[in-house]
């Protein structure tokens, strides 16, 4: 066995990592969007936070998966606009 062969035989972890990344990208697409709700909530929060102070709990995202259609429900409880805008400016 050559030295190169010997080394590449031992370092199998990088191969494992690459195979997993490819496989899981595929499986996540098949089994549904992992964390989609969480990602949406974070991003919506971030967009609102650019313009006004808002508490995390005030943004609720709900995903209902049906057989033929799915619905996405986004519920944002707005703070007192004048107050929040003032807080964000400071």
């Amino acid at each position: 066995m050559s030295l190169l062969n010997f080394l590449s035989r031992r370092r199998s972890a990088p191969v494992a990592r690459e195979r997993l990344q490819i496989l899981l990208a595929h499986e996540r697409a098949v089994h549904g969007h992992r964390d989609l709700v969480a990602i949406l909530q974070e991003e919506i929060l971030a967009v609102i936070a650019k313009h006004m102070a808002i508490e995390r709990e005030k943004v609720q995202v709900k995903l209902d998966r049906g057989k033929s259609t799915s619905t996405l429900e986004i519920d944002i409880e707005m703070p007192d606009l004048a107050q929040a805008a003032a807080a964000a400016r400071h």
């Binding site: 031992r10 370092r11 972890a13 997993l20 899981l24 499986e27 549904g32 964390d35 709700v37 995903l63």
Partner: protein, 271 residues
């Protein structure tokens, strides 16, 4: 407020039962009121790992079906008095557990304990989804190995869709517990590294439990490792993970075995 924690993984044999017992004991040792609940109906093992197998009279299914009161089924640990066990049934089949029945028992447990730790069966079927359904947080137990990582990814997907929290549009708190970790082999590139697993699964790390003979020894004698050998590498790793669960900010390390004089003389612990 009581917190329901599910210890889950998809794959079997990765260390869920060991971790339920060790985290539960570690939290109880710090004064928290803890109950560990075995959801592995038909294949119960938590009683054995906790050293309570001869004290089981009633189980979770008896309580769910109203054949026993919760207080009759709970087994108080003889070493730590804030620690209790609710065993699974060994004989009944898992269809005896219903979603409503489980929810009722968990609600009752919430009154009595600070932590309710549910040891999930392997798989992604009913048993596993029942164990996770009411949870506030999840510990995803993963070994640094391809099939375990893949199954954990699948379980994370279920935690984000098949739980009460997910259905209500609330966020499920998820923690990665990397177990049976061999630092030397990871460094040689023979085993996935912590960073590889973290990058792939992208949930926060709760702890790294080293592969250790002491874990086997602990289960042989029926004592969680945080009780039988708190100074061992795995014992310390579980204590750190329990502190992180309580919100403490502990630097992440992989503890290594400290060798005392006897250990140096004989090369290994005399069991």
């Amino acid at each position: 407020m009581a917190k329901i924690l599910v210890v889950t993984s998809g794959k079997g044999g990765v260390g869920k039962t060991t971790s339920t017992a060790s985290l539960g004991a570690a939290l109880a040792q710090s004064g928290q009121r803890v109950v560990v609940v075995d959801f592995d109906v038909g294949l119960r093992n938590l009683d054995l790992v906790m050293g309570a197998e001869r004290r089981v009279v009633f189980d979770l299914i008896n309580v769910v079906q109203g054949d026993a009161k919760l207080a009759q089924a709970l087994i108080r640990d003889k070493r730590v008095d804030t620690l209790s066990l609710l065993p699974a049934s060994q004989t009944r089949d898992k269809d005896a557990l219903t979603e409503e029945g489980v929810a009722k028992v968990l609600a009752e447990l919430r009154e009595k304990f600070d932590w309710i730790i549910c040891d999930s069966p392997a798989g992604i079927e009913k048993g596993a989804t029942l164990a996770m359904y009411n949870a506030d947080a999840a510990v995803v137990v993963t070994n640094p190995e391809v099939s375990s990582v893949r199954d954990s990814d699948r379980i994370i997907g279920l935690l984000d869709s098949k739980t009460k929290r997910a259905e209500k549009g609330e966020r499920m708190e998820k923690h990665l517990l990397l177990t049976r970790y061999d630092t030397a082999r990871a460094a040689r590139g023979e085993m996935l590294k912590t960073d590889d697993v973290l990058e792939i699964l992208s949930i926060p790390l709760l702890g790294i439990i080293p592969e250790s003979e002491e874990v086997l020894r602990a289960s042989n004698i029926g004592a969680p490792i945080t009780l039988s050998n708190p100074a061992s590498a795995a014992g310390r790793a579980y204590f750190d993970a329990a502190k992180r669960l309580r919100g403490e900010d502990i630097p992440m390390t992989v503890p290594v075995e400290r060798r005392g004089l006897m250990g140096k003389l004989f090369g290994r612990r005399v069991a």
